[in-house]
Symmetry: C2
Subunit: 243 residues, 2 copies
């Protein structure tokens, strides 16, 4: 296995961090390298906001559902889909700027390709990372706190720092349940793969003190009700269009 593949394969989420600041040079090197991720027609529809202020980070712990690592990690960032640069240069050129679902999708994809490069770059320096999807729990409040202007869409947070734990890597779906050759499988084939995975995950959860828990059960509970129903309103209030 080459070094990049080893790094990728060793990933696990770190939620406990040592009280060690990020090296500023590391941050710049990681972002600069991550910027070379693919981007649709070079539009680069993303920004990264670093939050340093301690009071703001404490408030974000609350807004993200009580995740202490948001305040404790060496660095906390917000990954944004960013259409503001586009709207600005369109305005300067006297042209209309016409967002729709396609431009929203471009921003989310661009930002996430960049974000994955970014976390791998940080991990290559020895840092641990944790995405904070909980940023969307109370996103209108988080957006106001961060003072993000029109066309800058906060998507998720990112903790980066020196890890203070060594969690076990979480097993993923069998390859056969994710990579399909020529045709999407039947429900029976798919459920057979998911049964295999449930057995693996039941062991994983039992080892972590959660006997009787598996993947399918967690998924069925998770999606039985809608979450974060404010997203569309917030994003549209910031100039995005989802039509």
């Amino acid at each position: 296995m080459n070094p990049t593949l080893s790094l990728m394969s060793a990933h696990r989420t770190i939620r406990r961090f040592a009280d060690v600041p990020l090296d500023e040079g590391d941050v710049e090197r990681a972002v600069a390298a991550a910027q070379h991720a693919s981007t649709s027609s070079n539009i680069q529809a993303y920004s990264l906001l670093r939050v340093r202020d301690e009071a703001k980070r404490e408030e974000l712990v609350e807004l993200t559902g009580g995740q202490p690592q948001v305040a404790q990690a060496g660095g906390f960032f917000v990954v944004c889909g960013d259409q503001r640069r586009h709207a600005l240069v369109a305005g300067r050129a006297g042209r209309p700027y016409e967002p729709n679902l396609e431009t929203f999708l471009l921003a989310v994809v661009d930002a996430s390709l960049f974000a994955q490069n970014l976390v791998l770059a940080f991990e290559s320096f020895g840092y641990g990372i944790c995405f904070i999807g909980g940023l969307r729990n109370r996103l209108p409040e988080a957006d106001r706190l961060l003072a993000l202007p029109e066309h800058v869409l906060p998507l998720y947070g990112l903790c980066v720092g020196t890890g203070a734990e060594e969690p076990r890597r979480r097993p993923r779906l069998p390859l056969e349940a994710v990579l399909f050759d020529e045709r999407y499988p039947s429900d029976d084939e798919l459920l057979r793969q998911l049964d295999r995975y449930d057995a693996v995950m039941a062991d994983y959860y039992a080892e972590r003190g959660k006997p009787g828990y598996d993947w399918s059960g967690g998924i069925a509970r998770k999606f039985a009700r809608r979450n974060r129903e404010h997203l569309r309103g917030l994003y549209e209030s910031k100039g995005a269009r989802l039509e």
Copy 2:
């Protein structure tokens, strides 16, 4: 620079490929490593469909706007946001499955974190890659051709193969136009950075036989009209909800 950072920094899109098939072991190793990308609550809301059939690939060249690499690259894949596994296990458990904009966003983000890992894994083996956003040009037809069932949302294509060109790397936005410390910059600050970038990109385009072209001008033209307005209809017809 460590090997992962060097690899990331050296990325450029490859559009001309040698007639060399992918090594099947490489595909499995790349996908298995890429699956360790972060995923929200381990939902792994993505699938990768490999298209081998030559007639289908020729048809996809047409549907993606005449991109010959879709047929020529060693391998062609479709990256999908996949909520079908979730809907299936919810149904089996007798629970409702409730998609909304949040679940759509989860799928797009999960798929794109996975996809960036995947391309980096392929690049670490020496392959070149090219994302095909043009898959969304005529997405309802592409979706039918690929026979993707409900809750499997095609997002973009991916060509992987042995490169037959050595294009220059495309310069990215200055770091200062992407990474912001504590507060999002003013329009004046941002436009100053974009002017710097326009100068760099004007040189880049002039060298490639497109004098008088820059980044801002291209962006202003690109977003002056809406593209791919069928996306919402297609995704909602497949069970996604964007509310």
